[in-house]
């Protein structure tokens, strides 16, 4: 048993930590969120220069052969910095879909760009009715003379407005919720018939509704196996779950630190508010919730890395814990900051918002509790 990072992983952690602490301060982030693009292209280019965008890909694909542990290490730091650059959408979602679909043509066309940061991607995992069911796909792809014709609506697609490629699951066979008959398509930006309606998200990112109206695609727009995309989506979702949970743990750590710190400095009734036992116990609870979540994070990352047969149970346990503890830590952090906690000025409010929204992504606490219990 070993909970320590190897040398390369420790170096990776170090490089992210230094960057987040040194160059990703909250005011810069705030300015980037408020900019036209909603993030900083220069910052994202730096991620690529530092090699982070290459981490999860195999050496054969031009990557650094990183796995779940590396993903966890990076995402935790992104959580600490509340990073809004499209690493998650582009690398953890779209990049992973390309990896898992194992389609050489598509990889040749897109991967190099994703890895060197010159391109970004998006993966359209949800539809308005699908909630947390990956197989609930109503977007249809029908064969046409040239190849395929797609019609449908994809909901809240991260980074869709600026992505150079959007990966779209569509139903090529069967009924709405069948597990078989889903196929993944790669749509280059500007494909005729595809429109995006973009908007910022409450947690500082960018998303869009993607509407497909008789989108004509060539036969080779199919990514991987026809009708067999669900396995790919499931594999991607496993990594996405681990990634957002690691991000959540990074956020939790920050919220615990900041709240404890604030309680030592904020004085009321002649004392630091941290001197009040009623608040001390609340902060102890926050601290414990964070540690318990971190334990499940390490467990799930190791199981995913080892390809353990019970990895889905492990991820469900983790995501449930993240939802439950995240809610508590976020709400308490705000409450203990008093009025300051509900201001746009204070970073704590923004950590709270992101942590809240992570519960809603890829299955909330109830969803994963049910999955674990099943």
């Amino acid at each position: 048993m070993d909970f320590s990072l190897n040398e390369d992983q420790a170096l990776l952690k170090d490089s992210l930590e230094r960057f987040i602490q040194g160059s990703y301060d909250f005011d810069t982030r705030r300015a980037n969120v408020a900019s036209e693009l909603g993030y900083s292209r220069e910052t994202y280019a730096q991620f690529a220069e530092l090699g982070w965008t290459a981490v999860p890909f195999s050496e054969a694909d031009g990557g650094l052969d990183g796995g779940p542990i590396e993903l966890m290490v990076m995402m935790e730091q992104f959580g600490r910095g509340l990073v809004i650059e499209p690493y998650f959408a582009s690398i953890v979602l779209a990049g992973a879909a390309l990896r898992h679909a194992g389609d050489d043509d598509a990889k040749a066309r897109w991967l190099a760009g994703l890895i060197d940061g010159s391109l970004t991607g998006a993966l359209a995992l949800q539809e308005p009715q699908s909630r947390f069911d990956l197989a609930n796909v109503r977007t249809r792809a029908e064969r046409s003379d040239e190849g395929w014709r797609l019609t449908g609506h994809k909901a809240v697609v991260l980074n869709a407005r600026d992505a150079d490629v959007i990966l779209v699951p569509a139903r090529t066979r069967g009924r709405d919720r069948d597990r078989d008959g889903i196929t993944l398509f790669a749509l280059a930006a500007g494909t005729p018939g595809m429109t995006t309606r973009a908007y910022p998200t409450v947690d500082g990112m960018q998303a869009a509704e993607v509407i497909l109206e008789d989108v004509q695609l060539p036969a080779d727009a199919v990514l991987g196996h026809e009708d067999g995309a669900l396995a790919v989506l499931e594999a991607v979702t496993r990594e996405a779950l681990l990634a957002v949970c690691a991000e959540a743990v990074g956020i939790m750590a920050v919220l615990v630190e900041k709240t404890v710190d604030y309680s030592k400095n904020r004085k009321q009734f002649g004392l630091p508010i941290g001197a009040f036992q009623a608040l001390q116990h609340r902060m102890v609870e926050m601290f414990m919730e964070h540690e318990q979540t971190r334990s499940l994070l390490y467990m799930a990352a190791m199981k995913l890395a080892a390809g353990a047969p019970d990895v889905d149970r492990a991820l469900s346990a983790l995501k449930y814990q993240v939802g439950r503890s995240g809610r508590r830590i976020g709400q308490e952090a705000v409450q203990l900051h008093g009025g300051m906690g509900v201001t746009h000025e204070l970073d704590v409010a923004h950590y709270f918002k992101r942590l809240t929204m992570i519960d809603l992504a890829y299955g909330n606490a109830d969803h994963h509790l049910s999955r674990f219990a099943a």
Binding site: V156, F269, F352
Partner: protein, 401 residues
């Protein structure tokens, strides 16, 4: 024990309902129902509508313009207003400064201020909190120094809700520092917001809205006749005001309305989806909040009954703020969950005006506002005395600890 309304009460309820059907301005109703931000004028016009009927201040004594209603009638009135989804009545004038003025003000002040408060001609804001004085309000530092016929006020107030709309501010300021307890030497002063030396800095809340402000006082000269009651007794008056604030703080009727609405919305689903209300786990969660609300409703009614029979509100009344805000926040969370992925969309501009059609919103028309609303709603356990401070009060005053 009897749960039924009398015939007279039922007739009164019908009267209120008819008033709401006929007099609740359609444009304001539309804004409320579609979740569109209200402007200053909307709040004022609604309160003026109530005033036109003589119903602006049910809690005031009749001689100052109150309604003389029984506790049951007040309860019916509040409930019907909430069920019709009417705007919140701004508390600063009608529930806060008004009662202080009619209780402690002199005749001249009553004549000068009460009619404008009652008729919602003037917008008031509350200047209590300071950067260094939140829960420990008595440590406030804003000074009012006597200079001839004026007080000269210096200091900073903060969290001033909708101060940008206000014509007047009532504030607690220190008129003497030569005191044995910090609660002494504080005075209750009224200031015209246009007085030179008063400036506002907006504070943007977590949902991106301009709801609160910092209010700076720099050598602000306020005539001494704007002192309410005796100099140095402001703390006592301020506490009286907080008791008035407690009336209706449980917000039971509004929470009921919101929970019922939620159940209706969550029973719908887009084509190919399953309504969330069909999910037994979600149903149980809704039911748990509903039960908590039911308990709160009856706790509220017990308080009301105690007051109606001439008694003081019992210990149960201390529960109202804590449980009331917890229920409001739990309902906020259910809305976010019901919105699902569409809770992510941050599009306040689409909720800014009735001219923007609902069809332009992202997802179901109600969904994209749920997360900002939840984030903002964290304030209810913070303002009006944090829930921790409320618990300290219960521990001390009720449990004798």
């Amino acid at each position: 024990m009897d749960l039924n309304f009398s015939d007279a009460d039922l007739a009164f309820r019908e009267e209120v309902r008819e008033f709401l059907r006929n007099e609740y301005p359609a444009d304001i109703r539309e804004k409320m129902d579609r979740g569109i931000r209200l402007a200053r004028d909307d709040f004022m016009r609604w309160q003026q509508t109530l005033h036109a009927r003589g119903w602006a201040a049910p809690n005031w004594p009749v001689e100052h313009g109150g309604t003389g209603w029984s506790a049951t009638q007040k309860y019916i009135f509040t409930t019907e207003l909430a069920l019709a989804n009417t705007p919140t009545i701004m508390p600063f004038g009608l529930s806060m400064v008004g009662p202080v003025i009619y209780t402690y003000g002199n005749e001249e002040q009553k004549a000068r201020f009460l009619p404008d408060i009652l008729a919602s001609r003037a917008w008031w804001c509350q200047g209590y909190s300071e950067p260094g004085a939140g829960s420990d309000l008595a440590s406030l530092k804003t000074r009012a120094e006597r200079d001839g016929d004026h007080y000269v006020i210096n200091g900073t107030k903060t969290w001033t809700t909708l101060g940008q709309f206000a014509d007047w501010i009532f504030l607690l300021a220190r008129t003497s520092t030569d005191v044995s307890r910090k609660q002494e030497g504080i005075s209750f002063i009224l200031a015209d917001m246009r007085t030179p030396g008063i400036s506002l800095r907006p504070i943007i809340t977590i949902d991106g809205e301009h709801e609160v402000n910092e209010v700076h006082f720099e050598n602000v000269r306020v005539p001494v006749e704007n002192l309410v009651g005796e100099e140095g007794r402001g703390w006592t008056y301020g506490k009286v005001l907080l008791q008035h604030e407690r009336a209706g703080i449980a917000a039971v009727a509004r929470s009921k309305y919101r929970l019922d609405t939620l159940k209706r919305l969550a029973a719908e689903a887009p084509p190919g989806g399953t309504p969330l209300m069909d999910d037994p786990v979600f149903r149980r969660k809704v039911a748990a909040v509903e039960i908590e609300l039911l308990a709160l409703e009856y706790t509220d009614l017990r308080t009301l009954a105690a007051v109606a029979t001439g008694g003081a509100p019992g210990p149960e009344s201390s529960i109202l703020k804590i449980k009331g805000t917890e229920v409001q926040q739990a309902i906020d969370e259910l809305y976010v969950e019901a919105a699902g992925c569409y809770a992510f969309a941050f599009t306040p501009e689409l909720f800014a005006s009735p001219d923007i059609p609902d069809a332009t919103r992202i997802g179901p028309p109600w969904a994209a506002d749920t997360a900002p609303h939840y984030f903002n709603g964290r304030k209810v356990s913070i303002y009006g005395g944090t829930n921790e401070i409320q618990k300290n009060i219960i521990a001390k005053a009720v449990l004798g600890l």
